[in-house]
C-alpha cells in the first residue's frame, strides 16, 4: 500500500503542518496531566504520529537539554522548528502550554483570593515543606555524573559557596565561572582517540 521507501520498516508520516503541530502538542500536554511529560511526548511524536524517528527525537532531547530554557518546552520548540521553522516552533509551544498554563493561572487567581483563610494557609504550610524537599533533591539527582571529576566538584562547590554564603547573583556567577569552565573543558587533541 504505502510507497516503498528504501529506508526502514518504520515509515515516517508526512511532515506535519501548523495545525497538526498545535494539536499534537496539545495532545502531549493533555496526556501528561498526571506527569511524565517527556515520555508522553516521545510516545505521541515518535510512536503514534510518526513525525520523527526515535533517533531524531533523542537528538532533539540533546539539543533541548544543552540550550537555555526548560527542557520539555525546548523539546516542543525543536519539534516545531524542525518542520515549520520559527512559526512551527511558536505554534508547538502554544499547543503545549495553552491548557496547562491557563489552568495554572486560574489556580493562581484562586490562590490569591483564598490563601489568607487560616485553614488554607495551614495546609499550604505543609505542602511547601514537601515541595522544598523536591527542590533539595535536584542537585543530588545529577551529582553522580560528577563524582569522578574533582575539577567539576570544585567548580560546583565554588558556585555553591559564592551563592549561599556571599549572596552572589546568578548572572555574575555564570559569566565568571562559565568561561573558566569552558576553557578547562575545551576539547584537546590528545584526549581524543
Amino acid at each position: 500500500m504505502a510507497v516503498a521507501s528504501a529506508e526502514s520498516s518504520t515509515e515516517l508520516a508526512p511532515a506535519p503542518g501548523l495545525r497538526e503541530l498545535f494539536f499534537g502538542m496539545l495532545q502531549v500536554a493533555l496526556s501528561a496531566f498526571g506527569g511524565g511529560l517527556s515520555a508522553w511526548s516521545q510516545r505521541i511524536v515518535v510512536e503514534q504520529r510518526r513525525w520523527m524517528t526515535n533517533e531524531q527525537f533523542l537528538t532533539g532531547l540533546t539539543v533541548a537539554r544543552l540550550f537555555p530554557g526548560p527542557n520539555q518546552i525546548n523539546m516542543a520548540v525543536y519539534i516545531g522548528a524542525q518542520f515549520r521553522g520559527l512559526r512551527g516552533a511558536l505554534v508547538a509551544l502554544a499547543g503545549m502550554l495553552l491548557v496547562p498554563f491557563t489552568l495554572l493561572m486560574a489556580l493562581g487567581v484562586a490562590y490569591f483570593w483564598l490563601h489568607e483563610i487560616p485553614s488554607v494557609n495551614r495546609v499550604l504550610a505543609g505542602v511547601v515543606a514537601a515541595a522544598a524537599g523536591m527542590a533539595l533533591s535536584m542537585g543530588f539527582k545529577i551529582l553522580d555524573e560528577y563524582w569522578r571529576d574533582p575539577v567539576a566538584l570544585l567548580l560546583a562547590a565554588g558556585v555553591f559557596v559564592a551563592m549561599v554564603f556571599f549572596h552572589v547573583r546568578l548572572i555574575p556567577v555564570v559569566l565568571i565561572t562559565g568561561p573558566l569552565a569552558m576553557a578547562w573543558y575545551w576539547p584537546r587533541q590528545h584526549t581524543k582517540p
Binding site: 500536554a29 501528561a32 496531566f33 511529560l37 537528538t59 539539543v63 533541548a64 540550550f67 537555555p68 530554557g69 526548560p70 527542557n71 518546552i73 525546548n74 520548540v77 522548528a81 521553522g85 516552533a89 509551544l93 491548557v99 496547562p100 498554563f101 489552568l103 495554572l104 493561572m105 493562581g108 490569591f112 495546609v123 499550604l124 504550610a125 505543609g126 511547601v128 515543606a129 514537601a130 522544598a132 523536591m134 527542590a135 533539595l136 533533591s137 535536584m138 542537585g139 543530588f140 545529577i142 551529582l143 555524573e145 571529576d149 567539576a152 567548580l155 560546583a156 565554588g158 558556585v159 555553591f160 547573583r169 546568578l170 565561572t177 569552565a181 569552558m182 578547562w184 573543558y185 576539547p187
Partner: protein
Amino acid sequence: MSTILLAAACTAPTRLTDLGNLLRVLWEFLSLSLFSLGGGNTLLAEYHHLAVNQFCWLTDAQFADLYALAEAAPGPSSMLVGLLGLGAAWKEGVGWGLLSGYGAEIAILLPSTLLMVVACLSWRKLEHSPWRIAFERGMGPITLGILFAVGIKIVRTADSTSAGSLSVPGVIVSVIVCVLMLRTKISPLWFMAFAGVLGGLGIINR
C-alpha cells in the same frame, strides 16, 4: 516584635504606574531567559531575589506557596514564572494580574525559544564544534552548584516561621521528601498531599 518585623518588611525601590510595573516584569524575565541553564530550575533563587527582596511582589510564604502550586499543577513546573507575574500585579486587580502573568511567561520563554530555533536549524554545524563540547561539559558542574544553592534557598524560604526562624518539623519533612525523591519513584504529588494533611493538623506550621 511587630516593629522589628515592620522595619524588616520589604519596601519597593520606586512606585511605578500599572503599565510601568508590567514593563518592569517583562524586562526582568526577558533578561533572565538566556541564563536558564540545566532546564530552568537554576533560576529559582534569582526569581526569589526579584520577587521577594528586590521588588516586593510577594512575601517569602507566598513565594513558597506559588512554587509548590507550580510543582503540583500539571504541565512544566517552569510555568512558575506566570504565577510570579500574576503576583507582581495582583494589587492592581485581576486583569492586570493576568496580563502580567501571561506576559511574564512569554518574556521568560521568548529569548530561549528564538535561540533554540537557531540551534535547531544549525545543529549539524554545531554538533561537532569545540564550542558546543566545551559549553556542554563546562556548564554541567556550574549547574550542579547552582542547583544545590537553589535547594538551600527554597528550603530556607519554605520552612521558616512567621518570626523568621527555621521551622524544625518543616525541615524534617523536606529532608525526608528529598531522600524519597532520590530513592523511590513515588509521585511527588503524594508527598505534597501527605504533607498538606500534616499542615492541616498543625504538625507543620509557619
